[in-house]
Point group: C6
Chain length 243, copies 6
Amino acid sequence: MDSERVKTGVIGLDDKIEGGFIRGSINFVTGTTGTGKTAFCASFLYAGIMKGEKGLYITTEEREEDIKADIRSMFSWDFDEFEKHGLMRFVSIKPDIPAKMITGEDVSKVIKLYMYELTKKIEEEIKKFKAKRLVVDSVSLVELFIKDEYLRKIALMQLIDRLKDLNITAVLTGAIPEGQEALSTTGIIEFLTDSVIKLDFVPVAEEFKRTLTVRKMRRTDHSILIHPFEITKEGVKVIEIVE
Amino acid sequence: MDSERVKTGVIGLDDKIEGGFIRGSINFVTGTTGTGKTAFCASFLYAGIMKGEKGLYITTEEREEDIKADIRSMFSWDFDEFEKHGLMRFVSIKPDIPAKMITGEDVSKVIKLYMYELTKKIEEEIKKFKAKRLVVDSVSLVELFIKDEYLRKIALMQLIDRLKDLNITAVLTGAIPEGQEALSTTGIIEFLTDSVIKLDFVPVAEEFKRTLTVRKMRRTDHSILIHPFEITKEGVKVIEIVE
Amino acid sequence: MDSERVKTGVIGLDDKIEGGFIRGSINFVTGTTGTGKTAFCASFLYAGIMKGEKGLYITTEEREEDIKADIRSMFSWDFDEFEKHGLMRFVSIKPDIPAKMITGEDVSKVIKLYMYELTKKIEEEIKKFKAKRLVVDSVSLVELFIKDEYLRKIALMQLIDRLKDLNITAVLTGAIPEGQEALSTTGIIEFLTDSVIKLDFVPVAEEFKRTLTVRKMRRTDHSILIHPFEITKEGVKVIEIVE
Amino acid sequence: MDSERVKTGVIGLDDKIEGGFIRGSINFVTGTTGTGKTAFCASFLYAGIMKGEKGLYITTEEREEDIKADIRSMFSWDFDEFEKHGLMRFVSIKPDIPAKMITGEDVSKVIKLYMYELTKKIEEEIKKFKAKRLVVDSVSLVELFIKDEYLRKIALMQLIDRLKDLNITAVLTGAIPEGQEALSTTGIIEFLTDSVIKLDFVPVAEEFKRTLTVRKMRRTDHSILIHPFEITKEGVKVIEIVE
Amino acid sequence: MDSERVKTGVIGLDDKIEGGFIRGSINFVTGTTGTGKTAFCASFLYAGIMKGEKGLYITTEEREEDIKADIRSMFSWDFDEFEKHGLMRFVSIKPDIPAKMITGEDVSKVIKLYMYELTKKIEEEIKKFKAKRLVVDSVSLVELFIKDEYLRKIALMQLIDRLKDLNITAVLTGAIPEGQEALSTTGIIEFLTDSVIKLDFVPVAEEFKRTLTVRKMRRTDHSILIHPFEITKEGVKVIEIVE
Amino acid sequence: MDSERVKTGVIGLDDKIEGGFIRGSINFVTGTTGTGKTAFCASFLYAGIMKGEKGLYITTEEREEDIKADIRSMFSWDFDEFEKHGLMRFVSIKPDIPAKMITGEDVSKVIKLYMYELTKKIEEEIKKFKAKRLVVDSVSLVELFIKDEYLRKIALMQLIDRLKDLNITAVLTGAIPEGQEALSTTGIIEFLTDSVIKLDFVPVAEEFKRTLTVRKMRRTDHSILIHPFEITKEGVKVIEIVE
């Protein structure tokens, strides 16, 4: 309980995990497609900015303008303004796969190079920009495009090891394939990160319901409830259940 | 919420997704065989024509006359008339596999060439025809006939990347193998598209019921209900549930 | 609704699929072993004969005399008489695998040759005999004996493509391995055919019940009910449920 | 209904399958270990003897004296006496695998040779002994010890083809691995035989219950009930359910 | 029912299986880890000693002193005393895998040698010691450490064939991997042994309950109930259910 | 019952397993991520210190300062003080995988070397430090990073064999992949250890509940209840259920 905490930015979550994420921890937010992972990430960075902590948003799947539009559409915050004032940076690091159909071997090389670049670029950006919070949304491309299952594990372990050395509080997002009970595609990232937060989108009668569960948080006496949540204009918001 | 919207053409759906698809987005409509994907696509193009937006319907599985007959049989719209007036084009792009039994390697080459042709032809048609809406029905052939699972992923990623560059609003259809909980055969396309709409055909007592769920829609505060729907003469129609 | 229909021969089914199968369509009737597929096929051909349409019954698993005995045992119709009058033909096309145990490679060649012969023979018979209706009962041998999963898909696609060119209304039967939720062994044939009809044999309390479901039918506003059915002397008969 | 029937020997079963097995048919009796397959086989041969039809019991898993002891322990019939009077023959045909650990290749050869011998020996015995009924208990060894999954299918198809040529009424037993929904290990034998009878041993509250289901029977309007049965001194006995 | 029976040593079990195991039979006792297999084995040997039949306990997983301590902790019997009086022998036959990490090939050789030694040693001990009862606890090491799945089957078949030739009443224990419905790892041993007894440890509300089921017993009209049981100081004890 | 027991340190557990772990036993504590395994380990070592038994905590996944912070955050104990007084040692033994992406082969060598080092270092530490209690938290890295499934089994067997020779009471932790029913990744460690304790985190209505089950304990008449537990400041605590 003596570890320093940083606000997660998710309204109603911090008091369920002893005040927030541990400073310097690597946190894993996972769920199937469309469960609210990007909303979580944006809320996390917004909370940092409110405290004067610079935020770096790495997107591996979308263009910078698209991810910004995604966030703008969800929340009332003016991230463009934050970016102009140097409080925030969006960086898209997508693998560049050549247009004509190539062999799996070629792609593998492209991805290996990509992983190397990704790690290096994150390091450079953090040092140059002096970010205190990092989002990598998502690591699923790594999981999907490194062909050898075993090398995939190694690549993720190396990425997380580097991030731990950088003394930044980070949120990585992952992807759970629909219809599986796993926490990630590789089944290893959840053992390497300091926390695991699972977002679900579960059918209840004629409706889907969003829920958030803290599946693990080191050094923390965390909530073990399944929390319903909403995405509101003011950020992701855990709904309090009155008993 | 500031992104421009285009009507989906599905009656009752637009007000559940902040007005429609985002202009320029790539949307994925998925379901097992016979769940109404072609009906969805036709409704989408019809809505465009009503707004003066030209539509291009690429079919990878049927002959042009067959897909037109399919649509004619479902709806009261006169697509032939639209085509004559240059508002609409149907193009069948099927892989041409030689008659005598050949090796998997040969087929693989045919399919690679096919993917290349498919992408190129779509580009040409869009530029020449100045289409504003595109349907690719379906990408499942790609998923089924590229032998190497890994190259399948790459091929889909490349196709979607090209489409994103073309500034067209598109609907791609996919196929979920019966009895699986996945959103697609490859398990990747749902991460690359801007939205995922799942059509189901679920047994309820002695009957099957059609349902539509928006599983993901970027930049959109979308409905999280499981919506029953019908295929009516006037188009696909989401049934309002009175509570 | 403007497509010409041919009676399915299954009593009570036609009014649930806008009048019958579409003329010239390729239809897939699938189910686990013993669910009534052969009964469906015979009913289909019988309905043709009653309209003066010649029928061709290709069996890939039984001898001609056995399949005829099967049908004779189920129905009151005199198919021998029909055959004598040139309204009907039964042809058994079984793969001829040599007696002494051979290698998988040898078998593979035998089967490839078989597929080629099967397609050619069907074409010849149809042209010579001027059949209007075709049954291929079943394609499961193809699915079970082409060793390479990928070539199996290609072989089925080629067979169906040829049949579509022949302008015949066809019923192909398939086999679902017991205890699986799939519609076929290959998971592709259901995407290539114009309709999919699934027969089930489901345990209900102390009994098994036969049911028929139209899982897909192009150009058709088909029933979405799970229909119980019986095999009666007068043909396969869908039981009307009074509500 | 015009096919000649032979009594199955299972009390209460014949009137549920139009009088018995079809003369000359190949029947498959399947179930997990300990579900009563051997009891079924013995009842089948006993019924033949009572009609003056000689019976041949091939065991592939036990010694002749053991299988005879098995049957003696279950039923009040004196099979030794039948054997002495030339009405019955028990033949054990087990594969002879050398004592010192050998390679998979070697074993494979032994098994191929075994399959060849098995088929030949059955033919010889039937011709010499003029048996009218045959039991092969079981074909599961074939399924378990032919290494290549594909050759296993071929071997079974060849065995069944040979048996069909021999004009004998046969019961083959198979084995369903515990906890699987399949009808056999290979998933093919059930398509090749004329009937499939499944024996189950299902937990009901604090007890296991034996049930018999006719899953398929060609040329036969068979029961579709799940029949409880017992193994009594007088033979396997289907229990009539009073409604 | 004419076969000679030997007491199983499990209190309350013998009257459910016509008096006990068949003399000379090979019996398989299986279950997940911690279900009471060792307790069953000890009870079986104790019953033999009470009848003057010498017992041989082969352990493949523990040291002799550990297995003896296991049994001592469970029961009030003085096996040390029995051993001193020559009524009983405990032999630990563990594979000796060299300390430094070696290749799979090397390990495979070690295990093959081990299997050979195991079989030979059992034979020698039985002959020298004139044991009437044998326990091999367990055969799961064989299942886990023979790399090739196919050779694993052969090895087990050979072991059981040798034991059958030795005219000893034996209990082999096996291991079911947690969360699987199988009766053994290889899925073959249950077809080769004369009986299969399954021990379960099933969650019932807030508790786990021990149950024993006779899944198969040749030449025996066995109980088909699911019997709860306890491990008491006087031996494994089946609990009678009063109805 | 005559074996010497050591307190587990888990409040309320000892009286359910005849007084504690057996001195010198190797115990396996398993569960999915975040189920309280580290808390169990710390409680185990604390109980030792209270009895004057030195404890060695090997962490294979975290840095020494991190694991210490983890424990500090959970409990009121001053492990730093214990360490200063020589009652306790924390040693982090993580594999050192080079930064630039390497091949699977290279990684495999690194891990083999690592396993060798791990075993050697544990031996050295135990001898030098005279520890009486050992924790290895966790063996899951071994399970995840030895590529060949078979060598993984061997490596674990060798590690456990060495530990048994060292006469130390040990707790090894393992990892169960989310959504699987297994007790470990390899499916073998549970057969090799003297006990298996499973921690669960199960959803009950809107909440997750922690439970502990003793799945196996040699030489011990152990509880077979599913025990709810809490992580309190005073240690892991089994909740007594009043009946």
